[in-house]
């Protein structure tokens, strides 16, 4: 039973790490801010979820699991909002936005 749990935890944590690596690569690869934001959001949403599931499984269900769920919820509320604000600021300030993406007048 113990090794099964270890395997599940390892799977989740490795997947989370892979997501984080993809995200970081995307942040450095893409040229435009909006693309980079998309890449960066992978860590906030998916990699965090996988890592937290791994941690929760590793330590069993107890009060700490609830805290972990709270952390995930908080980040899931805060990250899209901050992303929205950054995107809005970018759209407001960038004069050459049409080079980045389609702009509907």
């Amino acid at each position: 039973m113990e090794w099964l749990r270890f395997c599940v935890v390892a799977l989740f944590l490795t997947a989370s790490l892979g997501m984080a690596v993809i995200s970081v690569a995307g942040v450095f690869k893409f040229k435009f801010i909006l693309n980079r934001m998309h890449a960066a959001a992978i860590i906030d949403s998916f990699a965090l979820l996988l890592a937290m599931i791994g941690v929760a499984v590793a330590y069993g269900f107890n009060f700490a699991t609830v805290k972990v769920v709270l952390i995930v919820l908080l980040v899931w509320v805060a990250s899209p909002v901050s992303g929205h604000l950054i995107a809005r600021l970018e759209v407001t300030t960038d004069k050459h936005l049409s080079e980045e993406c389609e702009v509907r007048e």
């Binding site: 909002v81 604000l85 600021l89 407001t92």
Partner: protein, 347 residues
């Protein structure tokens, strides 16, 4: 046209002279005069020629000079053509490579230095470590009994060494005052914002998200939770990890989020200049009165007149709880004030 040299002696010339009544001497004198004027003419012509020659030469020289200059210019232009794109084509590449190499080198050097330093550190938890002295022992053994706080850190920073924390909170206040001196924009005499400030606010609206529905909704959900969590951290400072500084920072972050979502007009209802002055000075004064005389009494100075209570209860630990609240208020106000100062020069 010049006559032949024996022209004067010719038959015809002798006849003419005879008819004109001239002698040979007259002729010779005239010839002499002629020769003199000729010589003069010659000289003048020579001078003129020389002059012309000089001028021509001068022009020539200037010409050559101009040609040389033109050539130089052309050369420079071709050089420019050749190397105009050098920085773009090669320089950036070279700089980029140099930058990468230097960055890696710097990182390697820093990492090695840190690792070497760490390897010289004493082993964690070893009994011979220099921090393992009688002070720590005393605090660990008697902390709970002396102060009634289950959080040893709180008992240390707010009771045994409260004057340190007194200085720290005053440092925060002094920092806020200094930033205020540098950044705060003045009001006019009747308390209205000056033109500069109004311009700042106008400018503020350009780039900062105001009345953003998404932000407002999330702030509506998050701000109360954040501030409540901050209050919890402050009030539980003597029972669990946390305390005035961390809780105050959390509350300050909540206030900043509120300002971002709803604008300064609404935030002014709680935090305007007058309130800020009262809220930040009163806790500091209380702290100074409560712990200031520890400077003069020396030693631990733990007697505050407030009973320590049962450890673990929320009302325990003597002065630690009120001091935590003071520090929390000061930190929260300072953070919020910094934000407003840097964003638009005052609340």
């Amino acid at each position: 046209m010049k006559p032949r040299s024996d022209y004067e002696l010719s038959l015809w010339r002798r006849l003419v002279r005879f008819v004109d009544g001239e002698t040979l001497a007259d002729v010779e004198r005239r010839a002499e005069e002629n020769r003199e004027s000729d010589a003069k003419n010659q000289q003048m012509a020579d001078a003129e020629a020389e002059k012309r020659f000089e001028q021509e030469e001068k022009e020539d020289r200037e010409d050559r000079k101009r040609r040389l200059e033109l050539e130089h210019e052309k050369e420079a232009k071709s050089l420019l053509e050749k190397y105009k794109n050098w920085p773009k084509e090669h320089g950036v590449k070279i700089f980029g490579r140099l930058y990468a190499v230097m960055a890696v080198l710097l990182c390697a050097i820093v990492i090695t230095t840190l690792l070497v330093t760490v390897s010289y550190l004493p082993e964690y938890g070893s009994p011979d470590n220099p921090n393992n002295n009688e002070v720590v022992e005393k605090y660990n053994k008697d902390g709970l009994y002396d102060t009634g706080a289950t959080n040893n850190v709180a008992s240390m920073i707010l009771d045994y060494r409260a004057f340190d924390t007194l200085g720290e909170s005053h440092v925060l206040f002094v920092a806020a005052v200094c930033v205020m001196i540098l950044l705060r924009l003045e009001l006019t005499k009747d308390g209205k914002p000056t033109d500069v400030k109004r311009a700042e606010e106008e400018n503020d609206r350009l780039y900062e998200p105001k009345n953003d529905k998404i932000l407002q909704l999330s702030a509506k959900i998050l701000v109360p939770m954040i501030i409540m969590f901050g209050i919890y951290v402050i009030l539980n400072g003597h029972l669990s990890p946390g305390g005035g500084f961390s809780g105050g920072a959390i509350i300050g972050a909540g206030l900043i989020l509120y300002v971002n979502a709803f604008g300064f007009e609404k935030a002014k209802r709680i935090m305007n200049r007058k309130n800020y002055a009262i809220i930040s000075v009163v806790p500091l004064l209380f702290y100074a009165i409560a712990k200031g005389y520890s400077f003069f009494t020396g030693a631990n100075h733990l007697e505050s007149g407030i009973p320590t209570g049962t450890p673990g209860a929320i009302l325990s630990g003597g002065l630690i709880l009120p001091l935590n609240i003071c520090v929390g208020i000061v930190v929260a106000c300072t953070m919020y004030h910094f934000y407003t100062l840097f964003r638009k020069g005052g609340m």
